[in-house]
Every structure is written in C-alpha cells, then in structure tokens.
C-alpha cells in the first residue's frame, strides 16, 4: 500500500493509504478523544467526539476522524476552535445523560465542561450543576458491547432497542442464556461498567 503524507496540527504525518485520520493521528502520538472507537471493531461514527476540522484549499469541513480516510496533502486540525466548541457541547450533553461515568468525567475534566468544573472547583458532588437538566443513566450508548458481540464473537446476544433517547442496550435472553455465561468478554470492553446490570436485567426477566 502506498504511503500518503498529511498535516495534522501543523505536523507532517505519514500514513498508509486507507487509514483513517484517527489511526494516523494516534500512530503519530496525537490524541483525539473517542467514546465509540475500538481497534478491533469497524468504525461506528456515533459519538462524534473524534470530529476534526479538515482544510482543502479555501474550504474547511468538520468530519468524524474515525471514519474519514487519509488523503495526500490533507490538512487536519484536531483542536481548532469549532472542534473544541463542539466537543465541549457534546460532553455537556453526555454529562446530562450519564454524569460521573468515567470516560465522560475524564474528558470533561480535560475540556473543562461545567458539570465537571463544578465538582473540581467547588467540591460540589451534586450532579445538577450543568447546562442541562440531568436524567442520569449509566450507559453512554457507545455500542462497543453490541458491536463486539456481533463483529468479534458473532453471537448477536446484545442489541439496541428503541430509538432516540429511548434507545437502550439489552441482552436477548434466548441467545444470552446459552452464550453469555461462558463469555462475558463484553464486560471488560464496557467503558462505564454498566453492562453487568443489563445482563442481570435480562437474567431476571427471563427467570420470571
């Protein structure tokens, strides 16, 4: 495969053709935040946190770096003003959904979102201090478990149901009962630790 050269944050980066911007950047030691990316899984493009700005000639555009493949001479800015502004908003939105969840807390700290800031600056433990009203859950719907089960294990024991904010991860008891007891590999891939409770729920539902 031929090699291409692109410029990420004023730095010349070499990458293999067909690579995504995210892969090229991480190879070069440039970090781009992600929630739904995993190297073993196909790019999902759902959390949008990895969005970067690309410039071609006079025009610039925001793209998801986990999906967009590298091109020779492409100029990428991973921390430009619109990128940061958007990332902060996404984290604020996610904080309202799953406050205190580890990856959100970590990124929130890095980007200084209001909910995390309140905890850090004032020692406030209450989670009601963001820009949005909070309706807490533990799952961030990154889909890592669902995709791991489908793409790597090929069992399809986990899936999404519902749409919009009603979307949730469920184990399908018919498959889970057979396949999950000896696997549970998804537990370690879940960034929030919410998954065992989903499994317990499926177990409980099935046994009643």
């Amino acid at each position: 495969m031929s090699e291409v050269t692109l410029i990420i944050n004023d730095e010349e980066v070499k990458a293999k053709e067909g690579m995504t911007i995210l892969e090229a950047a991480r190879n070069a030691g440039i970090d781009i935040p992600t929630l739904c990316y995993h190297e073993k899984l196909a790019p999902y493009g759902a959390c949008r946190l990895c969005t970067v700005e690309i410039v071609r000639g006079q025009r610039s555009r925001l793209v998801a770096s986990c999906v967009y493949t590298v091109e020779d001479g492409l100029i990428v800015k991973t921390e430009s003003e619109p990128v940061i502004k958007g990332r902060k908003m996404l984290l604020e939105l996610m904080w309202a959904r799953a406050p205190g969840v580890q990856p959100i807390r970590n990124y929130g700290m890095r980007y200084g979102i209001s909910g995390v800031q309140a905890i850090r600056d004032y020692g406030i433990t209450s989670i009601s201090t963001t820009k949005f009203e909070i309706e807490p859950t533990f799952c961030i719907l990154c889909g890592l478990c669902v995709r791991y089960c489908t793409e790597v294990k090929r069992e399809n024991a986990i899936g999404f149901i519902g749409r919009g904010t009603e979307r949730e991860v469920v184990f399908f008891p018919e498959i889970a009962r057979k396949e999950c007891p000896n696997c549970k590999e998804c537990y370690s891939i879940c960034p929030t630790g919410a998954l065992p409770s989903h499994y317990a729920l499926a177990e409980a539902r099935h046994s009643t």
Binding site: R48, T51, V67, M89, L93, L141, R167
Partner: protein, 665 residues
C-alpha cells in the same frame, strides 16, 4: 329486491373482470409490438363515449370514493347505460379539499364533494339528459359556477406535467397508461438511444433530485454508472415521512407505471438489472397498486428478461418500510433493504458508489423517477424551458394547513409562494391573516409573509433558511405560535432520531426540553442564544442529514420571529394565544348577559354564576379548552383569550348581569 340488485351488481363486476381478461395478454417483443398494442387499445376506445372518472386517491378514498363508485355502477346499470358509459377509478386529482371528485368526459364536467346520494341525479341529469348539476360545481367567491375542471383556479394556475395523467388513468390498468403513450420513452431509450445518450439527455435537462437535496440526477447516475462493479442497483425512495406531505404517495398510487418507466430508463442508462422500491408500509394503496403494476408490466414483457426484445434485463423488488423517518436517508434506507435496522452509516463514501451490500446503488425519489420519461420523450430542451436558471421543470407540493384549497399542486420552479398559496390555494380561511409557510418538512424552515414573493426553487428556499425538501408546504395563519411550531417539529424529530449518534439523540432532546419550558412560561434569559449554540453543534456534528438539518425549524423561527420567543421568555406572553400555560380565558362582566351557554358547555365545570348572575371562570379549574370563547354568542362577545397580563379580579359572585336592552345597542 335488494338481494336481486346485489346479485346483479356482482354479476356486473364479474363481467367487467371477464372483459378485461378476454383480450389476449401477450408478451411484447419489440417497440412495434408496443405500438401495435397501443393502437389496438385506442381502437377499442371511443373518445366521445362518456366516461365517469372517480378520483380514488387516498384523500377521496377517505371521503368514501369507493361508495360513490359503487353507486355509479349500480345506477348506470339500473338505467341500462352499461354499454354506453365507461366508469373509471383514477389516481389522485389533487383537489383533496373537495373530494370525492368526479369528472365526466369528454366534456370534463367536474363535480366536487360528490356523495353516493348525488349519484342518481348525476346519472339522470348529466349522463342521460346532458344537463349540468349546478350544486355540485365549483363556486368561486363571487358565486360564479365553473363547469370544466381545467377552468377551476386551483387547476388553471398549475402546470401538471408529471401529475396530470393521474386523473386520466386507472392505476390498476396498464392499458390506460399505454393508451396515453406510456412506455414510449422506454422504447425510445432502448431502441433509439445508447446508454450514453440517455444519460447525457438527463444531464442536459439538469434534473435535480425531488426528494430534498436537489442533487443533479444525471451526475448521480453517472457516478453509479462509472463505479467499478458488476452488479449495480437502482432504487425508488418512497419513504415519504414528512408530516403533511403526500405527493409521492399520490404519484405512486395514481400512476405507478410512470415511476416504473423512469426507473427502467435509469437502470438502462446506469447498467443495472435489479431495482428496489422502498415504500412505506403505511401506504397500503401505494403498495397494492405498485404490485399490480409490476405484475402487469411483467406480463407484457416490460419487466423481466429481454425487455421488449431488446436484450435488456431488469426486475424490481418491493421493500416495505417499517415506519422510520430516518429510513428516508439514503444509507439508512439501504441498510434497511439489506434486512438490518435502518440506521445511517457513517461513511464518507457516496451510496452511489457503495450502497446496498457495498454495491453502487442509485437512489432517486418517486417524483424524480416519474419525471424521467417526460425528459426522454420530449427532450432536454423542452424540460429546461420550464423553471428557473438552476432549477428546471416543475415541482409537486402538498399544500396543507391553514389554506382554503388543500391539495396537491404542481407548478413550474420559480413560481412564487404567493401564487401557490393565494392563487392556487385561494388564501387563508376565515378571513385570517397569513403568517408563515413551512416548507421542506421537519428539516425545513418557516418563511414569513415578507418573503412571499420569492420564486420557489432549490436555491432560493435554501437562501432564506428553509429548503425544498420533498415538497411539503404547511400554511400557517395568525393563530399559529411559532415557538409552538418549532416545538412540534422538534418533538417529531426527537421521536424519529434513531439514537445512534450523540449530537442528534441528545441535542434534539435537550433543545426540545428548552422549547417546552419556553412554551410553559419557564423560559430563561439567554435561552434563545443557548438554542442557537446547541443548534450549531447538532448541525455540524451529527452523523446524517436528519440531525444535520434538525435545528432548522428552531433557527428559522428564531430568525423571523425572534420577538415571539422574547415575548414568551420575558413577558410570559404567547402572542398567538396558543401556549396554554401562558393564556387564560376571561368573561368581561360588563358584557356578560348571563345566558348560561358557556356555563352549561364548559366541560371542566369551571364556570360559576347562574340565571341573571354574571358568569365567572374559575382559573384553577379551567383547562383552557376554549369552548366558552367558541360558544359565547358573537353579539355578546363577552369571553376573551388573554395572554401576558394579570387575570383581572373577578366580580363578586352573585353579581347581577347588566342586560342590554334591545338589539344593536
């Protein structure tokens, strides 16, 4: 007696079925065969023979067009006119406001709002004595009656090049379509044109996608055509999901062969042998008529192997959607056809290159496909002579909302909104004032009256912050609250977001919550700016077009009606008097005549008072349904709807009403 009539009716229906099957259905093996068939059909048809056409589109169907049809069959039979008069159930005529529509040929006498009880009169007067039934005619504002369909202003201001044949053909009879020159364009493309010529004709016509984006159809075709792959697909997008929009539905229901013919021509130009129609399960008539059309086309050899003996093979599969708005998005639609949940894909590669099962897949909207045969038949020059500089041809709009003539309207691109709403739509009912028109469905925006004179085309609508979309046009009058409208559309989108990507799922939800609190009188200083800030991120960061365009209803209402947002937030006032939390009803003690009407009609029993005693609304109990305002006799006009002011102190209970003496005092 009744059973005898029923038996006769059954026999009649059976006979008409037999008649249809009598003529040999044989495969057409050449363009000459097609032409021969057309001549044969025409030879059996006398253009002067009276024909009753009954609109059987969805609107008229709901009005009971089927019962009207049966009444005609029965009545014509009873009068012994069966041999002398044809009856035809056609596709949607478009003037849905006045259904059931009946047009009698050859004179084209147009009867509106026909009910089964009117049928005997039509048969005896018009069909027997050649007299017009006056009371079923269109009547304009001056009381002038109009006999002919084409002279009714609703129709005369349109140019129905795509939609027009709907009213002439029975969608379940391929012969009707062929009689009007149907499949001529296909024969022309297959036998007289190379695939390159077909493509270049469509490109020169500058046909742009009617589904919303306005992407040049020819260029899209070319991309798929040039994509390196053995197997390619062409798809009809009939996943019309915008609230209030039904033009694709009516086209597919009323003239499925025109869509099919366009698809065949596209497939030929692109080099595809398999097509799909993605149609909503909620459109049973469209699915039904489409399946009949496919069956008949196969019988004639217009679909399948070796079409018209040309060596070109093509067939179509119908995929019924499971009811998700997002499935109209191309990559989600294709994922759904593959048999998976219809969610958009994040790829930056066009579906024209990598679509269904990663194969090049060309997706066009119903109306786009139906326009293709016209371009092939009449040429790109003819097509580009209609429309504006950058938007050619016509566009079908579904004109709905607060407008007198609800229906489907086809006009050349560049027609002004004013012409559509006031000349064709006949303005706003009840003498109310026009406020705004919402175009482009939930992803579009509102356009205020100051911009009524802009020409409607892809670029102009985008410029003013809305979009063409698939052609929904919702008219709003002065009683519409623009914050409430934004909330309505956001609520729709919140329910239809698939939930895959974060900005769309969470962003729409939070924006909806802010709109809800503004409508409930809990808006905060800075909410408008905050909405704009979230909008920007949702627009720029979302995965697919649903999220990217979701803020449009908010942004365009803020752009043109910022003052209404401010009134809600700062003054806790809803200027249009819609948001229930911000309004109250009040009975003016000076005007109340203690007539007991509102008191009796109030469903919440919130009105106290009595005979001769002034009526008072208990604001605690009031559910703000507005019944009191509706029932208060206009000559009293004692009830009013107020917003943004304090509830006036009620008079003491038991105060006697001051009765007016005599009328007009």
């Amino acid at each position: 007696m009744v059973s005898l009539q029923l038996r006769n009716l059954n026999r009649l229906l059976l006979q008409s079925k037999l008649n249809r099957e009598e003529r040999n259905v044989s495969r057409l093996n050449s363009a000459a065969d097609l032409e021969r068939l057309r001549q044969e059909i025409l030879a059996h048809r006398d253009p002067n023979k009276p024909c009753v056409t009954i609109c059987s589109g969805t609107g008229c169907h709901a009005y009971g067009s089927e019962a009207v049809y049966e009444a005609f069959v029965k009545e014509i039979h009873r009068n012994g006119l069966r041999e002398k008069i044809d009856i035809r159930r056609t596709g949607c005529h478009g003037f849905c406001e006045r259904g059931t529509l009946v047009v009698i040929f050859p004179e084209e006498i147009c009867y509106l709002r026909v009910r089964p009880k009117d049928v005997p009169e039509i048969v005896s007067a018009t069909l027997t004595e050649k007299k017009v039934v006056d009371h079923l005619l269109y009547e304009d504002a001056n009381g002038q009656r109009i006999v002919h369909e084409g002279e009714i202003p609703f129709y005369s201001h349109q140019s129905r090049i795509v939609f027009g044949n709907n009213r002439l053909i029975d969608p379940r009879r391929i012969d009707d379509y062929i009689a009007l020159g149907g499949y001529n364009a296909l024969a022309k493309a297959l036998f007289e044109m190379t695939t390159e010529q077909v493509l270049s004709e469509v490109k020169r016509a500058n046909l742009r996608g009617r589904g919303g984006g306005g992407f040049p159809t020819g260029i899209k075709w070319e991309t798929t055509r040039n994509a390196p792959a053995e197997i390619k697909y062409v798809i009809v997008n009939a996943d019309e999901g915008d609230p209030g929009a039904y033009m694709d539905r009516s086209l597919l229901e009323g003239n499925p062969h025109s869509v099919l013919e366009g698809l065949l021509i596209g497939a030929y130009a692109i080099g595809s042998h398999q097509g799909f129609v993605y149609v909503r399960q909620e459109y049973p008539l469209a699915v039904g008529n489409l399946n009949i059309a496919l069956e008949q086309a196969r019988e004639y050899g217009l679909l399948g192997l070796n079409i018209l003996g040309s060596g070109f093979d093509f067939d179509v599969k119908v995929h019924r959607g499971a009811g998700a708005f997002v499935s109209g998005e191309s990559s989600a639609l294709m994922t759904a056809i593959e048999g998976r949940v219809g969610e958009p894909r994040p790829k930056y590669i066009r579906t024209a290159v990598s679509g269904i099962w990663q194969r090049p897949s060309n997706l066009n909207n119903v109306e786009t496909w139906a326009t293709v045969p016209l371009i092939i038949n009449k040429g790109a020059e003819w097509f580009t002579s209609i429309g504006t500089e950058r938007s050619k041809g016509t566009k079908i709009f579904s004109l709905v909302g607060k407008v007198n003539n609800t229906g489907l309207v086809e006009v050349p691109m560049g027609t002004t909104l004013r012409e559509v709403i006031f000349n064709i739509g006949d303005g706003i009912p009840g003498g109310k004032k026009f406020k705004a028109v919402q175009t482009g469905g939930p992803s579009g925006g509102v356009i205020p009256d100051s911009l009524l004179d802009i020409p409607v085309d892809f670029d102009e609508l985008t410029k003013v912050g809305s979009m063409m979309g698939s052609g929904g046009m919702i008219v709003m009058d002065e009683d519409t609250c623009m914050v409430d409208i934004a909330r309505y559309f956001l609520n729709f989108l919140a329910g239809e977001s698939c939930g895959k990507c974060l900005p769309c799922r969470e962003g729409i939800y939070q924006m909806l919550k802010i709109l809800n609190r503004i409508c409930e009188g809990n808006g905060r200083e800075g909410d408008i700016e905050f909405l704009e800030e979230i909008s920007e991120v949702v627009r720029d960061f979302s995965l697919c077009a649903l999220g990217q365009t979701a803020p449009n209803p908010i942004l365009s209402t803020i752009r043109y009606f910022r003052d209404e947002y401010e009134a809600h937030i700062k003054e806790k006032r809803c200027p249009a008097g819609v948001c229930k939390a911000l309004i109250f009803y009040y009975i003016d003690p000076q005007k109340c005549q203690a007539c007991m009407i509102c008191l009796r009609d109030c469903p919440a029993e919130a009105i106290t008072g009595g005979k001769n005693l002034i009526h008072i609304i208990d604001q605690e109990k009031c559910t703000k349904c507005g019944t009191c305002l509706e029932v208060c006799p206009p000559r009293f006009g004692a009830v009013s709807k107020l917003s943004g002011v304090k509830v006036p102190e009620p008079v003491l209970q038991g105060t006697e009403a001051i009765r007016k003496r005599g009328k007009g005092k």
